[in-house]
């Protein structure tokens, strides 16, 4: 059976104006099956956001994709030649929900105007009513109030804004949604609501897969089916969520997990040394695939 996503040998490099090259993603290959949520975990600087932007076809200079291929449902595209990728892919096949998207919505536009703009960019002939109907249906399907369409961004709470923005980025029913730190700025209850909504969207096949980029491992444990841990541009370990969380093999994964603090009994009484207790050299161990 063809995978939903087959990304192979991706190498992304940042070229700074002074001529330096900084490798963001170093020869990474990942695969996803239908209906999966793949968590991309790592600290800042690991390359997870870069990889997310490359796969969602939103990578722009100074980030250059030197080589790599992206296959969705078996259809292959060459990532090193961005111009050759059909424009329609961006949004209808893969869609990106960038970090901080909810704060980047124009404050002078009502949500419904944004919806119309987005739909029209994809299909110039669409009428406003059609676009709004579609959005309204989607909101109802996912249990959000339709009055959100008439609101200005500042009138919505953080959690509501993020859910609305997530819906807008999937109005075209993309095969794959890449979400970069969608829950990081949210309260606990809003986080939960967003996670529930994403899983519901998968159930209803609004999209068929989600790549969830975050540094927050407990969140991935809640939402992801598989996790890929990144360190310095490479994937160091990947596998089913339970395996990664309960039985990690790679030293870096273990180190990352050792820094997690949640309100569970084991963290109340002990002292954790965190990453300090690990030898940095051991992080260069080869990739572990489960």
């Amino acid at each position: 059976m063809t995978n939903l996503l087959d990304a192979a040998n991706i190498r992304g490099v940042y070229y700074t104006p002074t001529g330096e090259e900084v490798v963001g993603v170093d020869n990474v290959s990942i695969q996803m099956a239908e209906g999966e949520v793949l968590g991309l975990a790592g600290e800042s600087g690991s390359g997870k956001s870069t990889l997310g932007s490359i796969i969602s076809l939103t990578a722009r200079p100074p980030l250059i994709v030197e080589h790599g291929s992206l296959a969705v449902d078996g259809k292959v595209q060459d990532l090193s030649d961005m111009a050759s990728i059909p424009r329609v892919w961006r949004g209808a096949v893969v869609s990106m929900l960038p970090q901080g998207a909810m704060n980047s919505v124009s404050p002078t536009m009502r949500i419904r105007d944004l919806v119309f703009d987005v739909m029209r960019a994809h299909d110039g002939k669409i009428k406003k009513d059609e676009a709004l109907d579609r959005a309204r249906d989607r909101l109802v399907t996912l249990g959000l109030p339709t009055r959100a369409l008439d609101a200005y961004p500042h009138q919505l709470s953080g959690g509501m804004k993020q859910r609305v923005v997530t819906i807008i980025s999937t109005l075209l029913n993309p095969r794959l949604l890449i979400a970069d730190e969608p829950t990081s700025a949210l309260d606990v209850s809003s986080q939960k609501a967003l996670i529930e909504m994403l899983l519901e969207m998968l159930e209803k096949e609004i999209m068929s897969g989600v790549i969830f980029v975050t540094h927050d491992l407990p969140v991935l444990r809640t939402v992801a089916t598989r996790i890929a841990v990144m360190y310095q541009g490479k994937v160091v370990e990947s596998g089913p969520t339970n395996t990664i969380v309960d039985d990690p093999e790679h030293p870096y994964t273990r180190a990352l997990l050792s820094s997690v603090l949640t309100p569970e009994p084991k963290y109340a009484k002990i002292r954790i040394e965190g990453m300090r207790a690990f030898d940095r050299e051991s992080f260069k161990a080869p990739e572990v695939k489960h």
Partner: protein
């Protein structure tokens, strides 16, 4: 601390200014003629390399001599007025912005009052009160009426810097108010203040010329504006004696243009986001890689292609997993 790269624009401006300064400073030594001495008849044409290089004006005085002394005067007045205005504006703006409350209200009211005072009225009143308008009096008057816009801008920026946590840290470290204003607020405003100062100087030079052309200029010195005043009053435009009005005009243009160019190049210097850069690839520059002019890693919910954003620049492995 920061890697400083000067743009071509900066160098052009700097060179132009250097030339002007050279003319103003050593010009009078090179042109050994007294600007008030009569060297020829009325509007004599330019001839030869001596005092008649640019001909004579309506009093038979050497235009070139007047030009270099006039440039010097205009620059002095401009610099003096600009400095006075900048100092006052900075002081008022910082104190108003930082203290807030009653102090802010008082200073802002003061700023607004001065904002509506027209310089020309003050200078006219001054010319009635005093027989002699020296360049220093003029500079002073210009300085104390041009500071309001700077004060407002500085006040706005100060209120923003005020909310930063390093101010709290400074207070809790036992620093007193002058120390905080000088070391914690001012450095953050400096890039703006430098640019504003350049604008003040440029504005003051042009203001002086305007006042001079209206006959309100300094009474005991020659400036570029005064040259223009006499050139117009004696009909040199009508009679075609271009050497009387073209040189001061050109000089004024060069001065204000170079100052404005300097100001805009400084803006690029201080604000990294405006910098244009070509990313150099191993094999040579490729137009594909030119950075867009105003660049920042902000994601956008845009119409084109649904939700898209440039690759976040902060995600570089140079810092690695610390």
């Amino acid at each position: 601390m920061k890697s400083v790269s000067f743009t071509p624009r900066f160098y052009v401006a700097a060179v132009m200014l250097a030339i002007v300064l050279l003319i103003a400073i050593i010009g009078p030594l090179v042109v050994q003629t007294d600007p008030n001495a009569t060297v020829g008849g009325l509007y004599d044409r330019p001839a030869g390399w001596g005092p008649l290089l640019l001909g004579t004006d309506n009093e038979g005085q050497s235009v070139i001599a007047n030009l270099v002394y006039g440039t010097r005067t205009s620059l002095i007045v401009g610099l003096l007025a600009g400095t006075i205005a900048t100092i006052i504006g900075l002081f008022v703006g910082i104190v108003a912005g930082f203290r807030g409350g009653l102090v802010d209200n008082l200073l802002s009211s003061l700023t607004n009052i001065f904002l509506v005072i027209p310089v020309i009225i003050v200078v006219i009143l001054l010319s009635v009160a005093l027989d002699n308008r020296s360049i220093f009096t003029l500079a002073f008057v210009m300085g104390i009426t041009s500071w309001p816009w700077l004060a407002r801008a500085v006040r706005a920026q100060t209120t923003s810097v005020r909310t930063r946590e390093h101010i709290d840290v400074a207070m809790m470290s036992g620093a007193n108010l002058p120390s905080i204003l000088l070391r914690d607020v001012l450095p953050y405003l400096l890039s703006y203040v430098v640019m504003a100062f350049v604008l003040q100087v440029s504005g003051a030079i042009l203001l002086e010329s305007t006042l001079s052309m209206l006959g309100l200029g300094p009474t005991n010195a020659v400036s570029l504006g005064i040259m223009l005043y006499w050139a117009i009053a004696w009909g040199s435009v009508r009679t075609g004696a271009w050497w009387a009005f073209v040189p001061p005009t050109v000089m004024l243009t060069i001065i204000s243009f170079s100052l404005l160019l300097l100001q805009s190049s400084l803006d690029e210097l201080f604000n990294p986001r405006l910098r244009r850069g070509k990313i150099r690839r191993k094999k040579g520059a490729d137009p594909r890689f030119e950075l867009p002019a105003a660049e920042g890693p902000s994601p956008q919910l845009t119409a084109a292609g649904v939700v898209e954003g440039p690759a976040p620049i902060q995600d570089t492995p140079k810092e690695g997993g610390r």
